[in-house]
């Protein structure tokens, strides 16, 4: 059985990312609500890693714009999101290493490391599944995000940016 999350680890277990990484360099597209995000090219892949190191998310370009949201789930996770096209992100996790959570209309799955609990990313479900993938930028090294702009989304009420 393949991995239950919307990642590429499938039934192959942990990927050897250095060998298999095929990053197309896309940024968040026009489909998602966060299409205005811009990214800065860093030349080499950057990695967001959970605390215990089990889950590693590889992106080609570090985000220049991050989003903090005050909705009931984002504020509790304390997450800072960087938006990508799913095809531009590689998720490196052993089989069974990710847990996920969704609720209510189950629009998104929030994925986290099953061991240390760090929230690593979210994916959309159903027809929107190829639109946007949110990487929790808290898992990048802080120095990698120096200078990134943080925007504040009022996900709790108006679903508009407050700044």
């Amino acid at each position: 059985m393949g991995c239950r999350c919307f990642c590429t680890c499938g039934s192959r277990g942990r990927q050897i990312v250095a060998e298999t990484l095929r990053i197309r360099g896309e940024t968040a597209g026009s489909e998602g609500p966060m299409s205005s995000d811009k990214v800065a090219s860093v030349g080499t892949a950057s990695v967001a890693t959970c605390h215990c190191g089990t889950v590693r998310i590889h992106v080609r370009q570090l985000p220049r714009t991050l989003t903090r949201c005050n909705c009931s789930i984002c504020r509790r996770y304390g997450a800072t999101w960087a938006y990508y096209k799913p095809s531009s992100v590689k998720i490196d996790a052993p089989r069974g290493a990710l847990s996920k959570y969704s609720w209510n209309r189950r629009v998104r799955d929030y994925h986290r490391c099953a061991r240390c609990g760090c929230v690593t990313h979210y994916t959309y479900r159903g027809k929107q599944r190829n639109s946007t993938l949110g990487v929790n930028a808290a898992n990048f090294e802080p120095s990698a995000l120096a200078g990134a702009r943080i925007r504040h989304l009022d996900g709790a009420a108006s679903w508009k940016f407050l700044d």
Binding site: C50, H51, C52, S72, I73, R75, R76, Y77, G78, A79, T80, S99, Y101, W103, Y110, R112, R115, C116, G117, C118, V119, N136, A138, N139, P142
Partner: protein, 145 residues
């Protein structure tokens, strides 16, 4: 002041009695690798009283790392960490995550960054005993469901 909080799915909830009435609630965004990745912003009041209810303790994970003195109560269903506890000299101490508060005026919460890098284990435990909530009751909700 009575503050209530919970994880997203409600499996872990708490009530924090804050006395005397707070002028503000100090909230520490710890810069350690775990708290940074978890987005944890913690508060405590040594004169407060905390009641932690775990409706189904079977789906609460207690992650510990480093010196393993602190136990991060993580809901295994929704992944939220509402409280951290530490058993020091046989007594339970705790801090609560302000991100999980319900209905508290954000203006009441004063956030600050803290960096305890390099602090010895002994000094850390002494600080926790001094600053963390010392009146902590942990309730297993298994039989109340």
């Amino acid at each position: 002041m009575l503050i209530v909080g919970k994880c997203h799915c409600g499996n872990i909830s708490f009530s924090l009695t804050w006395e005397p009435e707070p002028v503000y609630i100090p909230a520490r965004a710890c810069t350690c690798s775990f708290c940074r990745k978890h987005g944890g912003v913690w508060t405590s009041n040594p004169r407060g009283a905390l009641r932690i209810l775990e409706r189904n303790p079977a789906i609460v994970s207690r992650y510990a790392f480093g010196t393993k003195n602190a136990s991060f109560h993580t809901c295994a269903q929704c992944g939220i960490v509402p409280v951290v506890t530490s058993l020091i000299d046989g007594k339970l101490y705790a801090v609560a995550n302000v991100n999980t508060f319900e209905g508290v005026d954000p203006l009441l919460i004063r956030r600050e960054s803290t960096d305890f890098d390099g602090e010895s284990e002994e000094a850390r435990l002494a600080r926790w005993k001094r600053n963390w909530i010392s009146n902590v009751e942990h309730i297993d909700g298994t039989f109340d469901r």
